[in-house]
Symmetry: C3
Subunit: 350 residues, 3 copies
């Protein structure tokens, strides 16, 4: 792909300063950019690179002031960061523009396919699967009986979706993620063994969700495990049966949510956080990395940390206090010595 500064300016509705015929063929960070690179400057902290960069073209804000000579061609736009994001997105769309059905794949005769699909080799679409338009199902994916995919769904290589699950539109699921495996439910027997409780519910993934690689989301025992609209889930996250996650909640890598816990909307969950089961978590809660949540959070929009969790400030203060413990112990020992002295004196003066 080869573009001129003029092409890019047209696309972004920007103004050119320099050579409109300067050619670019890839995107790069301003500090690493070489000839042929298209880059951007949004944060003035990096202004120095503007004067030293070898990028062929740099996108800047309309108001960007120049204190030295710039050798790259500039394109001025209203918001350089947003403009560059648009380009990244375009670039990715071109990169990931596969269509058609590759062989060998397994498509059950009852499958209902939408338009403009990509179905990779070794993909498996089972009985009564329904697929919307513009979906991309990469090689080695498995879509079980009676699963529904909305429009514009991407399943990267090796995603597995068990029977009866429902995936909304504009959903992206990364490689190796498992949707709809059995919840972890076993009834104890008197002899110490366990009997499996069949898990007959499903998983509902609403629109605009992204799910990271090798993340696991279990089906409900009965009813549905629900991933709300706009939720973003990172890699290696575990979501147990009957969990419900509210709109626009974000979950970082390796976090885990135990069975039947309800997470509110706009919650931000750090890496390696763990939730016990059957909790309710208020909207807008924020959990630092490695937080352990063992009881429900009722006050919305607060920050929490530690295991078991506390208000984030208290958590930080606790650690300062713990570090000061040796000093505190020393103070108590000194007091004891003084007291012993005083008592002896008092005894002497009595």
């Amino acid at each position: 792909m080869q573009f001129t500064a003029k092409d890019i300016a047209l696309l972004l509705n920007g103004t050119i300063e320099g050579d409109p015929l300067a050619e670019v063929n890839h995107l790069a960070k301003i500090e690493e950019a070489g000839k042929g690179a298209l880059s951007f400057l949004a944060n003035n902290k990096y202004e120095q690179y503007l004067y030293t960069s070898n990028a062929s073209v740099i996108i800047v804000n309309n108001g960007q002031k120049l204190s030295k000579q710039v050798y790259s061609t500039l394109i001025r736009v209203e918001d350089a960061y947003n403009a560059f994001s648009v380009l990244l997105e375009k670039y990715n769309t071109i990169k990931l523009n596969k269509t058609g059905i590759e062989e060998p794949s397994f498509i059950h005769p009852t499958v209902k396919n939408g338009k403009n699909l990509y179905i990779g080799a070794f993909a498996y679409l089972s009985q009564d699967v329904k697929i919307g338009d513009n979906c991309k199902i990469y090689p080695g994916c498995y879509v079980g009986d009676n699963v529904t995919l909305g429009n514009n769904v991407t399943l990267f290589p090796g995603v597995k979706i068990y029977f009866d699950c429902f995936i909304g539109s504009n959903v992206v699921i990364h490689s190796g993620a498992i949707i709809g495996s059995d919840g972890f439910g076993f009834a104890p027997n008197k002899n110490g063994s366990y009997t499996k409780i069949a898990q007959i519910g499903n998983v509902i993934v609403e629109d605009d969700v992204e799910i990271g690689s090798n993340t696991t989301i279990d089906r409900a025992t009965m009813g549905s495990t629900v991933i709300g609209k706009g939720v973003k889930i990172d890699n290696l996250v575990q979501i147990a049966h009957n969990v419900e996650i509210g709109t626009n909640t974000v979950i970082a890598g390796q976090a885990g949510i135990s069975g039947s816990t309800k997470i509110g909307e706009r919650v931000v969950i750090g890496g390696q956080v763990g939730f016990a089961g059957h909790l309710a978590i208020a909207d807008g809660s924020q959990f630092g990395a490695q937080t352990g949540i063992n009881r429900s959070v009722k006050i919305p929009d607060k920050q929490w940390g530690g295991s078991p969790y506390q208000a984030y400030k208290d958590y930080l203060r606790s650690h300062v206090n713990i570090r000061r413990l040796p000093e505190l112990e020393k103070r108590v020992t000194e007091l004891e010595q003084i007291i012993t002295g005083l008592r002896e004196k008092n005894a002497g003066s009595a």
Copy 2:
């Protein structure tokens, strides 16, 4: 699937109150049940729903008393919860009743197959694999050289089993689980690099085990990593080389067990728990979520928590104590002020 109350009563050996011809076609929780649903009431806490539910049929205990009119048809049985579990299981068996060999699959000519199998498309059965009766090997599974599967084994889509591993009967392995990958063994060299120690052992999974999705179980360096009879393992659990896990132990999501640790029988391991290597853990031990176990546990049947772990009660008390630290510090400061006062006074009175 459509059944009448009479069909269900016959199956469960129950007594009908109401319309024996009431029809059901799905299972649902009593509080969410609508027309056509079969539900149950086992816990009197939910009795209210008995009078308001739209379920067509509800299974109740023989002794269930009614304080208001019930509109659903009732089936009385000795144990409503168990009876419903039986139905869930039946339902699941019908749902998951695939048989036959789909194409394209890869079955090495040396494979010894049992009766009544399901082998999905894109499944790979390597040289000298032995498979018992009634196994289901879903699409995209890989069964390496010389692996043995017992009877009634289910490998959900995308399970990978490396060479020489042994899987017992009635084992269920969920999607993306990896059995028999190399243990993490490297010998340090003088120049800071590492030389791999070949891992030539295997994994033995005994009867009645269930393994969750994307869980990883490494083969032994020599000898076997052993998952004992009846063990239940949740999703994203890591089990290192030469670990041995005793009968009926239960391991929740994202827990990790380091190399050569021996876990006893009936142990209960919470989510995100971590064990160091080369430990021995007594039978019946119970570990709260996120516990860190850095030394062996010798006393059986006790509860533990915290990282590094303590008796669970002490762990809880520690956190109360930590929270009371600011107050303790204040008390010490007050004592210091009083003492200073007393000493000045004493000095004055001397």
Copy 3:
């Protein structure tokens, strides 16, 4: 495979004591070895087994002294442990000596293949993939557009590598590992939703790296996520976008590294450790299991523990101090009582 003591001695340049025609057909630990087993003794702690073992052949150090009669044939070598490692490695090479291209597989016409390859059934090699010599690509692997693999690379079953990634030589990637999935990057919108930031960088895995099963390594937003030469990564590890890991660093199971963090060389990272984003970690740092790293580590070659992390010794001492808190509180209470007594006395004597 059947070998005589003479064959083994020749291979290891060792000296035989006993029957040169003693036959072995497998490797085993000295304490578990039976007839036909080849074993070794490197650590004198296990000397007792030398006299009781049923191994047909045992490899020992040249200097090994014997205090009783030995029934096994001995092979004396300079370093018994190393010699045995060599045999393990040979054994594994024979076990894993597959070659050829199995059908059905998907190899795009543009793929450039090296010599002496194994490409398993259901493997997928996409457009412009380049593969070096002696690579083994097991069944169900996915190698995306424009990916390069060096020489002697092994991808175990079900590895997925997204487009544009670069894998060096002598790299081993275990089943289910995902290389190059999108980094977790989303820009918040005013209405609470998020817009995805396209991730157009790649992952570079340098030579001599081993990556564990179901580990995930995300591609950079721009530029590269870099796994340095000789790095060893265990199972279920999460490595976020734009992370860089220095030469010969070792990462145990379920650890996680957040975006843009730079890990130095020779760092040792325990199980379930978590790093925040945008940190720099000094060479030779060592982190105990479950450590939480929330700020950069500037001093090299030190041990750390706890969450948030402290010097390892301080971390251990903290926990002792926390356990002593109830006693400290008791001492303060006693002081308060004494002081009250003293003040009353002083008041009385005033």
